[in-house]
């Protein structure tokens, strides 16, 4: 087992459970549900969409909007859209080494995501359309870990190896086609002729490579690269600061004039990660405009120590209800121990107390086995 695999366990848990809706129950992932969510709009709306549109280009984004607008007779239902504005356009000068460290400005730009979601919040007899918009960004992203940098360099070596094999496969035919082009260009009488002939050659080269049978050597080289890439854990070390916020508008009866802000929330997550130690501090505030009884401010802290085959973490979350007539403040404490049996298989033990000590199952004493999927790439944020 590579040391990095276990080091990724606590972060993997963070990354995965951060997608859960905040009010999904306060059983085990309480700390993670307080952490800055990937898509604040989904959390505020209380949805966990199975399919999220993530347009990759401005054209994709325009298509997504037009696609919804085509049948627009009211607020489109069940929209779940997440946009990373920076990554909508290409960045030909940004190599991975330059992205290993980020300034505040580049961190904000490269990590900013905008989430938009709609859902029906009412009933059959009293329909209420909900629209949520959220923004998330990392003010500080830390830096790519030394281990991740070494891995990316190793991956570059593997890609180089397979690329050389591929280059050898196409070299001869490519040479023949280019020599034929040389002969044809001697008879070209205009720039248009030259353009047509080179386009014909480019097309012939493409046809050749697309139909080229994969040799055993090339297949082995690609498999080797893919296997290594699946285990990549692009963790970042150092100081990380994430912020997020969002609003929900509710429109009873789909009437625009009746639309009001019904809920909003804000998150701050700060963390520091070194090879052996890391801590994460979280702060969340959620409020509902009409019913303030469940308005809550959560403050949490998690400390994680990671060794080659095991990791231990301690977490505490304090919850203060801020509205009138609210229940008393609560807190939650847990200690989690993970041990790696082998690649991708962990034994996990959790001991502690949940928020409401009078509720059933408030004593946390859970043991379990978790499976890690190869290829999960963990990034922080």
């Amino acid at each position: 087992m590579r040391p990095h695999t276990l080091a990724a366990v606590p972060l993997l848990a963070l990354a995965m459970t951060a997608r859960l809706p905040a009010q999904a129950g306060d059983s085990l992932p309480a700390f993670n549900s307080v952490r800055t969510p990937v898509s604040p709009a989904f959390v505020l709306l209380g949805i966990a969409p199975t399919a999220v549109e993530r347009p990759n280009t401005p054209a994709d984004l325009a298509f997504s909007i037009l696609n919804r607008a085509a049948t627009l007779t009211g607020l489109p239902r069940d929209v779940a859209l997440e946009i990373s504005p920076y990554w909508l356009v290409k960045h030909p000068r940004l190599n991975w080494e330059q992205d290993s460290t980020r300034t505040i400005a580049t961190s904000l730009l490269r990590t900013m995501t905008i989430s938009v979601a709609t859902a029906d919040l009412g009933t059959d007899t009293r329909p209420i359309s909900g629209l949520a918009v959220g923004l998330r960004a990392a003010v500080a992203s830390g830096r790519l870990s030394r281990e991740a940098i070494d891995q990316l360099r190793q991956l570059g070596t593997l890609v180089d190896r397979e690329n050389l094999v591929f280059d050898n496969l196409i070299k001869q035919r490519r040479g023949v086609l280019q020599r034929a082009l040389t002969r044809e260009l001697k008879n070209a009488t205009s720039r248009a002729d030259t353009g047509r002939l080179t386009a014909k050659t480019d097309s012939a080269v493409r046809d050749f490579v697309e139909q080229l049978p994969i040799s055993e050597e090339y297949r082995a080289a690609m498999d080797s690269t893919d296997e290594f890439a699946r285990d990549l854990a692009l963790s970042r070390t150092g100081f990380v600061l994430e912020v997020a916020g969002g609003l929900v508008w509710a429109a009873p009866g789909d009437v625009v004039d009746s639309a009001r802000v019904s809920r909003w929330g804000a998150w701050v997550t700060a963390g520091y990660q070194s090879p052996a130690w890391s801590f994460v501090a979280v702060n969340r505030f959620l409020t509902a405009v009409s019913d303030t009884a469940q308005d809550a401010l959560d403050v949490g802290l998690r400390l994680i120590h990671t060794e080659r085959r095991w990791a231990v973490s301690a977490e505490a979350v304090f919850r203060a209800f801020t509205g009138s007539g609210a229940p008393p403040n609560q807190h939650r404490i847990a200690v989690i121990f993970d041990y790696a049996l082998n690649d991708g298989l962990w034994v996990t033990a959790t001991i502690g107390r949940d928020f409401d000590p009078t509720a059933s199952k408030s004593l946390l004493a859970q043991f379990g086995i978790s499976f890690g999927l190869a290829g999960e790439r963990v990034k922080m944020p």
């Binding site: 990759n56 030909p92 190599n95 991975w96 992205d99 180089d160 196409i170 070299k171 280019q178 097309s203």
Partner: protein
């Protein structure tokens, strides 16, 4: 041939008589890639970092020669499926950049660029 995306292009670059040139390659969008560089079919350089690679020897006349570049880009950036490769040729009649881009078809996919520079 696998599920890679292929980009093939022939370009022209004017060199100075009996003067070598240099080639630099940038793999953009924070992706990982490597290039094989062939002059008249002979490998003159390869790797993930091609920076000011000398093409031709001192006094060598590069006119009417062919410089083939094969670049494989592997998608490792979870934020985008875009790949970008920029080839920069210097030392000829003018420095020139040639940029290409392609979206891989799936997360972790490949884009293979077969770019030929006809030196004249």
């Amino acid at each position: 041939m696998s599920d890679a995306v292929f980009i093939t292009k022939t370009e022209f670059y004017k060199v100075k008589p009996k003067t070598p040139i240099t080639l630099s390659i940038t793999i953009g969008d924070a992706q990982v890639g490597a290039t094989a560089v062939n002059l008249e079919g002979a490998l003159v350089g390869s790797g993930a970092d091609v920076d000011d690679l000398p093409i031709g020897k001192s006094g060598q006349d590069l006119r009417d020669t062919i410089l083939d570049c094969t670049t494989t880009v592997k998608d490792v950036n979870p934020d985008t499926n875009k790949t970008d490769v920029t080839y920069t040729l210097k030392g000829g009649q003018a420095d020139q950049e040639f940029s290409y881009s392609a979206d891989v078809s799936m997360e972790g996919g490949r884009a293979i660029y077969a770019i030929t520079f006809r030196l004249s």
